[in-house]
Every structure is written in structure tokens, then in C-alpha cells.
Amino acid sequence: MGQATVALRNFGSAESLNHPMLTRQHALELFHQVIRYSTADETEALITSNRYALTRFANNSIHQNVTEDGLYLSVRAVSDKRMARAGSNKLEEGSIRRLAEAALELAKLQPRDPELLPMPGPQLYRGVDRFYPATAELSPQERAETVAGVIRRAEEDHLTAAGVFSSGASATALFNSRGLRAFHEETLSEFSVTMLGPTSSGWAKKTGANHLELDPVALADRAARKALTAAEPHEIPPCRYTVILEPSAVLDLFGFLVFDFSGLAVAEQRSSLTGRVGQKLFGANVELLDDVYHPLHLGAPFDGEGVPRQRVTLVEHGAVKNLVYARQTARKLGVEPTGHGFPLPNDYGEAPMSIVMEGGRHSVEEMIRATERGLLVTRLWYIREVDPYQKIVTGMTRDGTFWIEDGEVRYGVKNLRFNQSLIEMLSQVEMMGPAERAAGEESFEMVVPAMRVSNFNFSSVTKF
């Protein structure tokens, strides 16, 4: 045993993190301190704790390896129809007092908002179990050993691996002076890998509450096979092609549409759905809902004000059926809140953050076999909104784009830029696979299928 190991033991195990994980009882004690010092008409405490670790690798070597540990309290004070929020991670008693006072002082400096609703009272929540102790406690050694295995897989084919393996746990408590008590804890893990060859790359990613379900070696193998198949990519002319979008590509595109299902966004006429609610905007095979209780989703069963989240059908048979509403938006529009509000105050109102798109029964392989000429897209990159009402977005393909001919993947192609209306795209969905928990880099996780879309508009090509 070396001297360094002795020294480490004297300071405790690396995984004996500094804050104990936030419990409901600890959160309640912090809330009681806030209440003791708050003289606001109404007071809300939002308390979050976060333990997170990430091992990052590139060039077949771990090059970054980090952990963090934090506990944060924010106080929302309401006084005479005025509201403000102040937050801090300085949680000794004097700081909590200062925080409660600061929130109230900031609130008093604002004009009255006659429409401001009182805080909600006690609510009943549906239980969700999304905490896996083994994922919360995964050690840096375990992550490093997994990464070493992935690097060995890369080296078998003379590829270069880059990616991340992360794990952690978070807890959220939302309590208010009208008796609302909401608490949620969950774990999160992620494995993402890019395999690089001399002229090509492949990518795969998975996230979930339980790290044992990620299967990093299988993801590495998938990314490696994509990189090998894509080697020496051909350049094809940009034009409209039939395209098979893998679930990661679908979710990253959807991320630029789902915020338009906010009731406030429609009311403020900044949504592409303004004047279109109730219309059949998409193809009849498009069914979209928001469901935080879906077994593949993570997330708390309550929103930023503590309102229970509801399952909401957003699109039914291609028609825009419902929007989601925070309490304040719902009051303004004369509808019932759906439990999708962000913590107050905010500029956006609400959004569906647990998207589920009903899929079909076709595997990606079946879609390929049924395609005479088209493209298979692994993932998309740097998507941005070009036109907010036509809902045109632009972006690039990345890390595995393939030409399909006569039902087979023939070769990799150089990456292409697209400019595509999402409304038009969802009217041209020809085939879908089963919905799965998908992860990308441009949007939050969703449960969506792979899909084949006709006439997807590619406008230019890049050099690799």
C-alpha cells in the first residue's frame, strides 16, 4: 500500500461525497428555516441537490474525469401581487435568512401584477420510481474500466474512440407556504461514443436511470460498424431525398417543434401553432403526446409550481389536439392547467418535456429494404430555426450518413446540410419503427421512433 493510498483513506473514500443526498426531511428543515425568516405573503422554496460524475475519453484515452456535488436553495417570494426569486448554494442559517429577505426585497421593487395567482396548495402526486442506488454510487474506477473496454473495441478495428460515461443522482424538493410538498429523486446515466476512422465516423448514445441498461460495449460496436461502413464517403448532390431518420435524429428535430405546444407561446403569437390548433397539420399517422409517466421517461411528476403533471395528447391523427398550460397561462386562457409550467418567474410559460411519439412496427432494417433510393441518417448536428412559422430548420448530418439503393446500404456519403419545414416533414412520414428512449445532443431525451420521410430537403454538401 503506497503512501498516497493511505493519504486518500484518511480523507475518506472518493465516492463518499460531501453533501449527503438530499432527503425529504432535510429539505423540509431547510424550508422551515426559510419560512422562519420570510415575511412575504407567500413563500416557496425550490431545493435541488446534484451528485454527478463524468468520465470523458478521446484519442483512445481518458482525458477528462470530473465529479461535482452541490446543494441549491431558491426562494420565491410574493408580496402584494409582486414576485421575485433569489437562489444560492450558501446554506448556513445567516445566508438563508439573507436569501429570504433578498427575494422579498426584489419582489417589492416591481410593479404589481394583478393577474398573479396565489401559490397552489397541497397536491397529490402519482409515484414514480426512478432511483437506482448502484448508478448513484458508480465509481470512477468502474467507469474507467468500462471505457478501457470500449477503447479495446476501437483498437480492434484501428479506430479512434471518443465519448463520455456519466452517472449521478439528483433530488428536487418544492415546498410552499400554502402547504404544497413535492419531492422527487432520480438517477441518471449516459454513455455516448464516437468512433473515428481515417475518412469516416460513427456514433451511438444511450441514457437512462439505470446504468446497467446502457450496454456501452454494444453501443461502441454499433458506432464502430457505422464508421467502417461509412469509410471513403461519396459526395452526392444536394436535393430532395427519401430519408430514414434514426430516433436520435428524430428527437433532435422535434426539439425545435415541441416548445410551440406551449399555451403561452400560442397566446403570444410566437408559436408555429398560432391559428392552427385543431387543424390537421401533419400526416394522419402522427400521434404525439406528453407523458412523464411513460416507463422510458425520467423526470418529476410535478411541474415548476408543484402542479401534478398530466398526460396530454398533443397531436391525434395528425391534428393539433391540445397544448400544455402552466397555471398562470391556463387562468389567462380559461382552461385547466396541465402541469407543464417552469419555475416562476420565467419568460416562457410552459412546454411539454416528456414527449412520446407513437411509433410503428417497422425496424430500420425493414425501412432500408423497402427503400429504392434514399439516405440513412444516424444523427443531426447544429440544428437551428430558420423560419418560426413555416418551422423551417437547418442543420447538418453527422457521424454516419449512408446511401441506400435497391433496399441495401451501399456506402457512406459526405455530410449534407438540410433546410426542412418540420410541418412538411411530419406530413411525409411513410414508415415508423417502435418508439424508443432516444438521446441526441440538440434536445432533451424523448421516446420517439425511427421514421422514413419522403422529399427531405438537402441544400448543400460539406467536404467530409
Partner: protein
């Protein structure tokens, strides 16, 4: 704060880290916004914590905490060492760093009016006055405004013996008018889009911008865009306004020159770069009139990328990036500089908070001004489009193929600014585009624009960067690409 940092440093040494640095960061942010005649929200946020970065067994480890009790600091430092030892299970070689001198110093960014001393009610009053001016114009359906103030105090200590305290104050402000009608949403923003202008300065930025004076024009343009002609598709000369050119610099010069991208460290997320090592001092990146520097020194101006020392304790520098069109320099760290044989880091390691490791980030990547005046440049352009204020931006993961959209355009015919154009867009390949630059406006029109939320790294980090730019002309560029079929 310094005592916390020293304790962590000592513990890392006891745990036999071969190198350690510690940052203690005290962060304070205040955000004030208005929307359609209402105060939309006031949020005050502060965060104090400590991050320990070590090398042990030849590999990096990092741990962070906001529990600053002595026991917690010790555990965090020990944890960083243990994480480094785990990293060593999958290393190809030992980490090596360029030499750096010890620095013991203090620095505070210039700030005439501390924004945290300005009453929140005064900020809201001003934003509400702007809001009223915007909504006075019929057709404006949404008016939004915001101010964002940040105060970042940091102690950095390292096992080299460095002890550096820095205090930066940043101010951001902007507003927009949106107009929905005729099946489209049009928007104009001032002084720039996506939050407005951000600088490392105090509330004086708000006072300098004459927010109220520009509001009627912005509102009228937002509404008038509905009746404007669609930006044509084809090849045209374009003149980019300063803020749009700032983002063009950010995406197509600033990111490609980050040496961690070049070396593959960001391959899984932010992407790599076409600027492979053999291109330095060989690639004609741009036309001969183009000179670009990365300058973190306070003398460069109040950009979001100024500091006295980076987050590895390397002094702020001016690094030539493009000299007379030739690519000559990268943004680097002590590790990446050593890896490619550079004698010294360019001092570009920056971390978002105490709970993030420093990574290579842009400082102020600026295009040096030329000598033109905008009115002369327009008069010198036969058939072109003036494009102003960013609306969308996208570039591939090696930074070749880009596409931008702007809020507004103006057709130029025979040296005259003629009709307004809506939905302008342009695209191209980075080096082709920069080699087509044939005119740059002068110092009077050069502004140090701020990009406050540049994302990079895993876990993700946001960083503010600065980009000095004056309007410039680019010949024969593809326009209208975003709406093309």
C-alpha cells in the same frame, strides 16, 4: 476564499498529486425581464464553490463541491486525486504541460457603475418604457426586453505557487419586437439578437446604447418586414453588419482555431476542426486584407473574453490568428501547446463555474478594422444585399459548411440601398467565404460584440466570448439558401 483554495491545494499535495490547481468562485447573477407591458421576472442567483484539478499517476482528475467545510474540502481534493488515478487506467501517455511562471496578482475589470447597485426598479422602468415604445407601433404583437448582470470573483492557486484573484463584472441588455401576421412571424432586435449586447463592463453599457431612442425604428421594421420582398436566391455580393459578422467570426474562425478540437478532444460532442496542424503558416484562410487576433488583454476593450490570467494561471495574451490572410495561430492550453510543440500556452483555458474544468475557449477573437465607411461601401457595391442582426446560425462539426440567416436585409442596386428584404440568408464554405472578403469598415464602426452563451464540453459549459467587428463585404456569396429547394 483564498484559505479554502490553499487548503484544497495542500490536501492534493498530501495525496501526492504531481500538479494541482484550485479555483474558488463566487458568482452572482441578476436577471430582469419585461414582456408586453409587464415585469416578466426578476431572478437573483449566487453560487460559491471550489474545484480542484490535479495530475496524479500522469492523468487528470477533477472534483468540485459547494460544501466549503474543512472536511469537505479535504475529501474533494482527495477525490480529485482518486479520479485522476482512475483516469490513468485508460491513458496512452502521461500529461505534460508547457512551462509557466508563478504569478501572484490581483485584477478587477473596469466597471464605472456597479450594476448590482442600480435599483431593480430603475432597470424595470427603463425596459417598460422601451416596451411601451415598441407596442406603440400597430402590428407589434410581442415586445420583450431583458437585462443580465454578472459578478464573478475567483481565487486561483496552483502548486506552481501562483495566487491570483480576479473580479469581473459583466452587463448584458437587449430587446425585441415581434410581429405575427400574414402567415409569418417577423422580429427585430436591438442592439443585437438573442439577448442583445454583452460586455465586461458595468451599467454604463445600458446608458451608452440609447435603448429608448432606437425602439420606434425597431418596431417599425418588424412590422414592415411583412410587406418586404423575399431575399432572392442566387449569388450576390453581401455586406454583413457588425453583430452578424461577429457571429460569423465566432463560428467560422473562433471555433476552428481551438486546439482541443484540432487534436480530437471534442470529437464526440462539439466536433473537430478542419484546421489540422500542417495548415498553420500555410493555409490562405482569407483574403490579404483580413487580420484576426485572439486578444484576452484588457487593452483590447470590454469584451466578454478579457481577463488578466486564464484558468490555468497563464497571463492574458494577444495571439495572431490570421495575418494578411494567412492562418498563423491556435488557441491553446498548457497541455495542448506542449502536445504540438508550441513553446507556451496562448492562455485560453476558461471554466464556466467552480464545478467545471477549464477547457480551451475563445477569448476575444476579433477582425481588425479596415478603412472603409459603410456608406462608401454601399456606394461601391453594384448588386448586393446588406444583412443585419442574426436570426439563425449553423455550421458543420469541422467548421467548413455554414449557413446564417438575419432578421433584415436591404437590397443594394447601383450603389444605393433600395428596398427592404425579409428572411435573408447566406451560406458557404469557410475558407472560400473569407477569401472573398474585399472590404472592411474602419475603427469608428468597429464594435466589440459579446456572445454570452457559447456551448462546449461535456458536461456542458457556457462561456462568454468577444468579437470585434466592423461591417465588411464578401463577393459572390450564395444567398437565399435557407428557403431554397
Amino acid at each position: 476564499m483564498k484559505e479554502f483554495a490553499q487548503r484544497a491545494l495542500n490536501t492534493a499535495g498530501v495525496c501526492r498529486a504531481s500538479y494541482a490547481d484550485v479555483r474558488v468562485v463566487d458568482y452572482h447573477q441578476r436577471y430582469v425581464s419585461t414582456k408586453n407591458g409587464q415585469a416578466a421576472g426578476v431572478r437573483d442567483h449566487e453560487s460559491l464553490g471550489l474545484g480542484v484539478r490535479v495530475i496524479a499517476d500522469g492523468a487528470w482528475g477533477f472534483a468540485s463541491t459547494d460544501d466549503l467545510s474543512p472536511d469537505s474540502i479535504d475529501r474533494t481534493a482527495a477525490q480529485a486525486v482518486e479520479v485522476a488515478r482512475a483516469s490513468a487506467l485508460a491513458k496512452k501517455h502521461d500529461v505534460e504541460l508547457t512551462f509557466e511562471d508563478t504569478a501572484v496578482d490581483q485584477w478587477e475589470s473596469p466597471c464605472r457603475i456597479d450594476p448590482f447597485t442600480v435599483p431593480v426598479s430603475a432597470s424595470i422602468d427603463l425596459l417598460l418604457k422601451v416596451d411601451a415604445e415598441l407596442r406603440r407601433v400597430p402590428g407589434v404583437t410581442l415586445a420583450e426586453g431583458a437585462m443580465d448582470f454578472r459578478r464573478i470573483e475567483q481565487w486561483f492557486v496552483s502548486s506552481l505557487g501562483s495566487e491570483i484573484r480576479q473580479l469581473r463584472t459583466q452587463t448584458g441588455v437587449g430587446y425585441s419586437a415581434s410581429s405575427f401576421g400574414d402567415g409569418e412571424i417577423q422580429k427585430r432586435s436591438y442592439p443585437s439578437s438573442f439577448g442583445g449586447q454583452y460586455q465586461t463592463t458595468g451599467y454604463e453599457l445600458v446608458e451608452q446604447l440609447d435603448l429608448l431612442g432606437h425602439a420606434p425604428r425597431i418596431a417599425e421594421e418588424a412590422v414592415a418586414l411583412h410587406q418586404a420582398g423575399q431575399c432572392p436566391q442566387g449569388v450576390k455580393d453581401i455586406i454583413l453588419g457588425g453583430s452578424q459578422l461577429g457571429l460569423q467570426i465566432h463560428e467560422s474562425i473562433g471555433h476552428p482555431i481551438e486546439l482541443d478540437r484540432v487534436l480530437g478532444d471534442e470529437a464526440n460532442y462539439a466536433g473537430m476542426s478542419f484546421l489540422t496542424l500542417e495548415k498553420r503558416n500555410r493555409l490562405k484562410y482569407a483574403s490579404e486584407i483580413v487580420n484576426v487576433v485572439a486578444d484576452a488583454r484588457p487593452a483590447h476593450g470590454p469584451g466578454l473574453g478579457i481577463f488578466a490570467y486564464d484558468d490555468e494561471g497563464v497571463p492574458a495574451q494577444e495571439t495572431p490568428i490570421i495575418r494578411d490572410g494567412l492562418f498563423v495561430g491556435y488557441l491553446s492550453s498548457r497541455e495542448s501547446a506542449r502536445a504540438v510543440g508550441l513553446g507556451r500556452s496562448s492562455g485560453a483555458m476558461r471554466a464556466e463555474h467552480w464545478n467545471r474544468i477549464p477547457i480551451i475557449r475563445m477569448t476575444n477573437v476579433s477582425l481588425q478594422p479596415g478603412a472603409w465607411k459603410l456608406e462608401d461601401l454601399i456606394a461601391d457595391t453594384e448588386d448586393g444585399i446588406l444583412m443585419e442582426t442574426n436570426r439563425s446560425w449553423s455550421i458543420d462539426d469541422r467548421r467548413y459548411n455554414f449557413q446564417f440567416g438575419t432578421e433584415i436585409g436591404w437590397e443594394i442596386k447601383g450603389g444605393k440601398r433600395t428596398r427592404m428584404l425579409k428572411n435573408p440568408s447566406y451560406g458557404g464554405i469557410t475558407t472560400d467565404f473569407w477569401n472573398s472578403c474585399d472590404a472592411i469598415c474602419g475603427p469608428k464602426e468597429w464594435v466589440l460584440w459579446g456572445t454570452p452563451n457559447c456551448g462546449k464540453g461535456q458536461p456542458g459549459q457556457l462561456m462568454g466570448t468577444g468579437h470585434g467587428a466592423a461591417p465588411a463585404r464578401f463577393r459572390q456569396v450564395q444567398v437565399g439558401v435557407a428557403y431554397g429547394h
